[in-house]
Structure formats: structure tokens, C-alpha cells
Symmetry: C2
Subunit: 337 residues, 2 copies
């Protein structure tokens, strides 16, 4: 790799002049400018970003922390992150924790010593203090989707209103005449699942339908557990006529179990999902679901993060945190009626 010195030699100038030309900093004679440019051309010189970063303390690199690549919502978010980052000249480092706390912790630790300008994180841990500490340590940070109540007004957040989204979804089901509505609920240590649960409860309550705990399906070991749970709940003397799944993958498992039992969707039981991953339109029947703007969530988070990075560079400190609440869409397809 040819370096700046070599270019300087070829152009018959000093390294600083080359630097000035390339970074358009300070005045430089047009004639020498041309000489430098030509030398750059000839040598095919590319500045060493590493050296630049070492000097400037900025790397134009951000860290994207996701808990899983198997849940399709994360790749979709990642797409939004990558798109915005790339267009703004940032590189993204992919940190997949596989829902493993130890890995997440180790990654944070590693990234801090690395050359990272900021973090977009979907944390796997409910109360991951090492992540929350990041902001205190001066690192730009945006939480996407997964956050805690106490993070509001303390950290930057991008998410949807999970309570309201679930409330509206269940209300839609109730409006369609359902009274026995099961919930395929998610891990309770995650705030957004608690919120969706709360929305479910409130919608029921507001409609004067008593909450029946037998209709609340709680994930035990991975989404596959809903296969058994679905069979069990449908075997009840008074089984549900609709199942609201707190995520699309759960809905798929539920649908599969239902099919397997010979039940028709939506004739016998309606299924409503949450996420709108790309495959939800392709299953049979196409899944009605609450659409989260996944790509946009990643994009907005990254825009915010870059804003923080630039702001910090100019003002020496992080801007006040902003909480972005994006809208959801209830997409009615053919799995509900």
C-alpha cells in the first residue's frame, strides 16, 4: 500500500500538503493541487483509515448489536441500519449475541476498546447495566425495540407503542365478535412483551370480558413450545375462537398446530400475529398481523445515532435523549375473521 509520504515524494511536496489537498483544508495553490491529485491518481493512493482514526479519535464505524439472526425481524432492522449508515459514510460492525448474556457483555467490552463511534442495540438482557452504562461513559447509544420503562428520558429509544398496538389488535378481534381470545405471550422479562400483554388485558377489560388465565399461553422453551400450548388450549371445554400471537414466529407455530389438529383458519379459529415479517404474507392462509416498521426502526435509530455522534463531536457532550415512537399498521389478511 502506498502511503501519503510516497505521494508527497512523487508530487514533489510535503505530506501535509497532500493531506490538505485531500481533505480540502486550508489554502493550497491550484498548480500544486493538480500535481498532488495527479500523483494520487498515478499511485492509486488510498488514505489509511486506521491512521486517520487513531489521530481523530473517530472511526466512522458503529456497532449493531442484535440478539438473534434467526428471528427475521432483526435482519430487517439490520437492513435499515446498514442502509442509513452506508449512505452517511459509516461502516457497521455486526454483533450477534444469540440471546447469550455473556456474549453480549463480552462484545460491549470489546467494542469499547475498539474504534466504535456508537451503538445501536437490541439488547437480549432485560436490565443490561453494562449497556445502559454506555451513555454515561460518553458513547452515543440508541436502543431499538427492546428497552425498559426506566430508560425513557434517560436513553435514546426507537420503538412502537406496544401497549396500544396490542390493545388495538385485540379490540379488532373483539369487534369481529370474538370473546374467547387466547394470547401467545412472549418472555416476560422483555418489557415490550409485558406491554403487549397489558394491552391484551386492557382491551379485554374495556370490553367487559374477564381475563381467563387459561387462555394465556406462556412460552417455556423457544417458540416451539406453542405447539404443545396450542393443542392444550384447544382441548379446553371452552376453547378460544381466536389466538393473538405476540410475534409472527409464534403465530406460525400456532397455525401449524391448528392445521395439524384439523382446525380451519379462520373458519374455526382466527390467528393474529405481530411483526409482519416478510413471510407472513406467504403462509396459508396469509397471516393478519400488526405491522411493525422494522426497516424504518433500524433506519431511524441509525439516523439518531449519527446525530448523536456529530453533536458530541461539536459540543463535547451527548444531546438530550429522544424517544421515537413509530406507528404500527394492523394488516388484515385472511387468518382472521
Amino acid at each position: 500500500m502506498t502511503n501519503i509520504k510516497e505521494v508527497a515524494r512523487q508530487a514533489g511536496v510535503s505530506a501535509s500538503t497532500v493531506s490538505r489537498v485531500l481533505n480540502a483544508k486550508g489554502y493550497v495553490n491550484e498548480a500544486t493541487r493538480q500535481k498532488v491529485l495527479q500523483a494520487v491518481q498515478q499511485t492509486g493512493y488510498r488514505p489509511n483509515v486506521l491512521a486517520k482514526s487513531l489521530k481523530s479519535g473517530r472511526s466512522n464505524t458503529i456497532c449493531l448489536m442484535v440478539p438473534s439472526m434467526q428471528n427475521p425481524i432483526f435482519p430487517e432492522m439490520a437492513r435499515g441500519v446498514e442502509d442509513v449508515a452506508r449512505r452517511s459514510g459509516f461502516t457497521v460492525v455486526l454483533c450477534n449475541t444469540n440471546e447469550d448474556d455473556t456474549v453480549e457483555k463480552a462484545y460491549i467490552d470489546k467494542m469499547k476498546t475498539q474504534w466504535i463511534d456508537g451503538f445501536v442495540v437490541c439488547s437480549s438482557m432485560g436490565r443490561a447495566d453494562h449497556i445502559r452504562a454506555l451513555r454515561g461513559e460518553g458513547f452515543p447509544l440508541v436502543l431499538v425495540n427492546r428497552f425498559e420503562e426506566r430508560d425513557v428520558n434517560r436513553l435514546d429509544i426507537v420503538a412502537v407503542d406496544n401497549f396500544k398496538a396490542a390493545y388495538d389488535a385485540v379490540q379488532y378481534l373483539i369487534g369481529a365478535g370474538h370473546r374467547r381470545i387466547a394470547l401467545a405471550s412472549g418472555r416476560e422479562e422483555l418489557y415490550f412483551y409485558r406491554e403487549r400483554f397489558r394491552g391484551y388485558c386492557r382491551a379485554l377489560e374495556d370490553a367487559g370480558i374477564p381475563l381467563d388465565d387459561a387462555l394465556v399461553l406462556r412460552e417455556t422453551s423457544g417458540v416451539e413450545s406453542f405447539d404443545r400450548l396450542t393443542r392444550e388450549v384447544m382441548a379446553l371445554p371452552d376453547p378460544p375462537t381466536a389466538v393473538f400471537a405476540a410475534s409472527d414466529p409464534k403465530a406460525f407455530v400456532v397455525m401449524h398446530a391448528l392445521h395439524d389438529m384439523g382446525l380451519r383458519i379462520p373458519a374455526d379459529v382466527s390467528v393474529l400475529g405481530f411483526d409482519n415479517v416478510s413471510l407472513s404474507s406467504m403462509v396459508e392462509p396469509p397471516l393478519s398481523t400488526v405491522a411493525q416498521p422494522l426497516y424504518e426502526m433500524g433506519a431511524v435509530a441509525t439516523k439518531n445515532l449519527i446525530h448523536q455522534i456529530r453533536y458530541k463531536e461539536q459540543n463535547g457532550q451527548l444531546p438530550p435523549p429522544v424517544h421515537s415512537v413509530l406507528g404500527v399498521d394492523l394488516i388484515v389478511r385472511r387468518s382472521t375473521r
Copy 2:
């Protein structure tokens, strides 16, 4: 951030001694070693990786180039890449090109100036010369899945035997009694799709079944085009009794169209996919498919890449290229008979 000098000061030694202790290089008195370690503890010192890289010319960072995050095979491969990289102390930079040649080219260009140690690439371009040039320029490189015939023995490749896999798949269909077998084919500029096509043709030929071009469905604009194509082919006077889809997403679209036409799977027509993405077991009916070891492909590619990196460091040049052919599995579920 405290630096090595600060640690040295606290320990009452020189920076070089601290370096020696931390990197276990050269002899160092046990007593001073302890002093250093203690100072490291107290200050919470973390070496600056950037400075290290600048010195060593190695960044322990690899680039993962994928054409899409929407096709679920890539996140799954990415998982394999990330897992192996992380365990070996490497960081992975995510470059998603969205199947855009310009983006891909720009990324390569950018990464070359980033002191990237190596590349794992699923190229979007059939003949991407700037990618192939990488090896010539001394960059460790592994092609996964997407490669050209002429790359064999010139570049490192990880893939399955697409010809044989397709051949076996079609032979299975023929063995089940099918004679009219449609192919939902992929973009022809991709070698592996051509290979799958060739396998389809050969299997037919070997069974004495004439190739009927009307049964070859060619993607026009995205996988959605198979919706129309499926309807058309089923409207033929002599429609197929089985459809072999060159990828699972195509199979999903085909199944969907079939359902929509009121056709039963597999009673009226069998559908066989290719990939075994995680959702293929959840659609209705569960999709029979040729399972590619996606995670493993990413993992093997990364292992190979890291081997190249280490080899190059020791020997000053890249090792001879290796072509890893991984095995596939025909998973028979309930969409075929």
C-alpha cells in the same frame, strides 16, 4: 481512556515493559510483572486496538458481503460467519449490497482502505472482477455459494454441489411417479441456478422424460413473479403434477398460488423447495426441500478465511485455494408425495 503510558507511570516502569507483560513477549521479572498487572487493574486499562492495528497491519476484522438481508439464507450464513469470527477474536463488518452492483463495488473499494484482513463474499454480480481481483491484490477471500465455474482452483469457495443436489431432488420426484415436473428457476446469471437447472434437465433426460420448456418457470421481476407463472403453468392442458422450486422463497410463492387456485398440496400437486430456511417447516403443508447447510457454509468459509489470514501472516503469501463442497440433505416433509 487511559493509555499504556499512564499504566507505565503508575507501575513505575516503561511503556515497553507494560507492552511486554500484556503480550507475553520476552522475559519480564515476575515482581515487575505483578506491578504492571496491578496498575492495569487499577486503571481499568484497555489497549487501543486501533493503534495496535496500525502497527501490526492487522485489524482482526473481516468483511462479510451479502447481497440481501431479505432472503433468509443470508442471515443464517451470517450467523455462522459471526460465530466463528467471534470465537477466533475477529470482528465482522456487515456489508449488505441489496443486490446493487454499484454498492458492492463501492464497498469493496472502501473496505480495501479500511485495513480489512479478509473477505467472505456472496457476490451479487455474476462476474464481479473487482472481487476476483482481491486475491491478486493479496487479500484473503472466500466466495460462498455464489461463484463462477472459472473460479474453481483460482479462488477459495464454499458451496454445495448444486447440480447433484438438483439432480437428486428431481430424481426423487420422478421416483415418486411424477412425469410432468415444473421448475421454478432462478436468475440465470447466477451459476448455481444454472447448475440447478442443469441437474433438473439431466435427471429428466436420464429418466427418458423429454424436457418441456413450458414447464420451466423463469423469474421475471422478483420471486412474486412465480405467482403469475404458477397460475399460467397450471392452466396448461397438461399441467405439472409437481413443482421443483430452485429456492424456498420461490416455493412459498408457488404454494400460495396453488392454494389460491384451490389446488391441494400434495394431493393435486407436489412442491419441492431448495434451501431449508427455518420457515419451511412451518408453512402448510410443511415444505419438502433440499437442505443446504447454511450456517455451516458461513462457518466453514470463515474458518478457511482465518486460515488464509494466519497463513499469509506467516508465509507472506496466500495458501493455495481450496474448494469446500458441503453435503445437502433431501428433507421430505408433507408437500410432496
